[in-house]
Symmetry: C2
Subunit: 364 residues, 2 copies
């Protein structure tokens, strides 16, 4: 551009607009320009900085701020700070906050199909869950389910295989489970109900005191890393495996749809890849910290880790099939999601039989 063009009116206006955009002033251009400064809030279903879940939410907030160069700063609120853990969905849906970090099966009462996006009994493990979500049509179904609630969901973490739960007494048969009141959410709770357990749901932060007071007899939370943090070994000594009810639980990051759609494309992309980064990072952290906590619980706290007896697992597997079939029969969207997950799982099982499973066997 030459001097004489700059000195023309149009050229000068362009020059001034150029300077304003580069110099950090506000104005209409700032809504999508480099000088955007958005202050977002994230409500979470976890105690602030609770290991893995809360720290994952905090990391997500930090990553978004870092990668956006401060164009979005995200303030994180723990469960109970703005509202209870089970109100995250509504807070984000209404736009009271722009983001939420939680688990989809908490919304089973509102959206019967939601549990399929966190954990399905005898379903997909973490690697398969990510395969289905990111490359098998899962996310597309999840977005379809949440869109009428004004939410855009992203996978926001994964715990890997969980534990079946903590019990005060050994479980040697299905009869030992009958009549127990157990904290177990989602579809796993419905399966347990079929074999005589009374399932209850409550936020993680209430499990220890409920077990201690005797309000519940047993509880599943996550696994060694998280269960140690809540001190569950202090009120129950038998920890059973494997976590048939949550073989690879996905956490979720929900973004208010209008807030997301108002972002320029680069920031939309940043929010999405920060979620995927945290999804990956959280599984890495669980994989590592669970190993360490497993050692600590066995060696320092005398916890007994025991396998569920084969006949108990068989009864649970049978009950799970019935619960899943009933979920599909009761709700058309659940039927659609279930068909997708079951088709994926059938192929994943066949493939992992000669890959992941065969390798585990070969390495022993």
């Amino acid at each position: 551009m030459k001097r004489r063009e700059i000195l023309r009116g149009a050229g000068l206006a362009t020059a001034i607009a150029g300077l304003a955009a580069c110099g950090g002033k506000t104005g209409p251009a700032a809504q999508s320009g480099p000088d955007l400064k958005l202050k977002w809030k994230m409500a979470t279903a976890w105690p602030t900085n609770f290991p893995g879940l809360g720290t994952g939410a905090a990391r997500l907030a930090e990553l978004i701020t870092q990668a956006s160069g401060g164009r979005i700063t995200v303030k994180v609120f723990g469960a109970g700070e703005l509202a209870s853990a089970f109100e995250v969905f509504d807070l984000v849906s209404r736009g009271t906050v722009q983001m939420g970090h939680s688990a989809a099966y908490y919304w089973k009462g509102k959206l019967p199909a939601s549990p399929f996006f966190s954990a399905m009994p005898f379903g997909l493990n973490a690697q398969e869950m990510n395969g289905w979500l990111y490359a098998g049509g899962g996310i597309e179904l999840w977005r379809e389910l949440y869109a009428p609630s004004n939410l855009v969901p992203f996978p926001g973490g994964n715990t890997g295989v969980q534990m079946a739960g903590w019990f005060r007494k050994p479980i040697t048969s299905v009869a030992d489970l009958k009549g127990l009141k157990m904290r177990i959410p989602g579809l796993g709770g419905e399966v347990m109900e079929k074999i005589g357990v009374t399932p209850v749901n409550m936020p993680g932060g209430e499990i220890f005191s409920s077990l201690q007071s005797g309000a519940i007899d047993a509880a599943e939370w996550v696994g060694p890393y998280n269960d140690l943090a809540f001190g569950l070994h202090r009120v129950a000594k038998y920890c059973y495996y494997p976590g048939w009810q949550e073989p690879g639980s996905a956490l979720e990051c929900m973004v208010n749809k209008e807030a997301f759609e108002a972002l320029p494309k680069d920031l939309q992309s940043i929010v999405e890849i920060c979620c995927q980064t945290v999804n990956s990072q959280m599984l890495a952290e669980y994989t590592t910290r669970n190993q360490e906590a497993y050692d600590t619980l066995r060696n320092q706290h005398g916890v007994q880790f025991l396998p569920l007896p084969a006949d108990v697992l068989a009864a649970l597997r049978q009950a799970a099939t019935e619960v899943l079939d009933a979920a599909g029969a009761a709700d058309p969207f659940s039927a659609k999601v279930l068909a997708s997950v079951r088709a994926y799982q059938a192929r994943a099982k066949a493939w992992h039989l000669i890959s992941e499973e065969a390798f585990y066997d070969a390495r022993r």
Copy 2:
């Protein structure tokens, strides 16, 4: 800024600089401002858009451009376009290109410890590899290894458990392997050598023609998804499992150190999380596409997928221990990395015995 200031010499210069920066020209301000326009090149070890590997590299380039709002655009070059697949390291190290996408074990000749950052025989699967890299000290060791070569490495993908390889004749004993010339890179090749195989390394793009011409008798590449793409089933009918030599191969994204350090913090963060996103996305894609290709190879091409006999696996396991011990004894940095991986693996095995493995068993 008022008109009369613009019209002064200094003001005008600023206005012109501002316009130039916004328009994509170079200049001092462009090095860190929102109007930065960097053009990066990425050399890869894969044919352009080869499924999984090449498409992963292409996705990484697109993500960086999207998330940076175009401040960095990345042009991807397939193997052979700028130099051969095995020269990616040198191209990035010298700064001829800013980025590379490849696999660390290709650099075994330069850096004996490099294979530990892609695949270790009977070592970590994908979930464990990510656990070790992201949350178990792995990345820190990798950065230390690559820093003297002027490179910053990031995990850039994972294939999951690979296959043991393609053979023209059935393998019923160790004797059937003796004397075969097989394409198998990294530490896996050294293990095969111990039991009488002649290992060779060559870029993926040369495997089909080498098998066809009889220059090699057998080959491992990746798994169904990738092996189908190269048509390996057309020159060998027996595919053995599991991929003991590559139980969860990490790909790598290398960035030239000066190019990385010259980036403003937000773009450094974007490059890092785009790598982690592609790392996660690629495993999801392999998990899904391998299932489909496994079906296709069995049902449409008559490929026989067979387990390696137990005594062959036992011989390989024994040879692997010797190869790993020797690698540690020969090179101090390898010893340090091996100690870290082995400690991680011992705990991961114990933990996955009651979580991932126990769940696979319970689900059958």
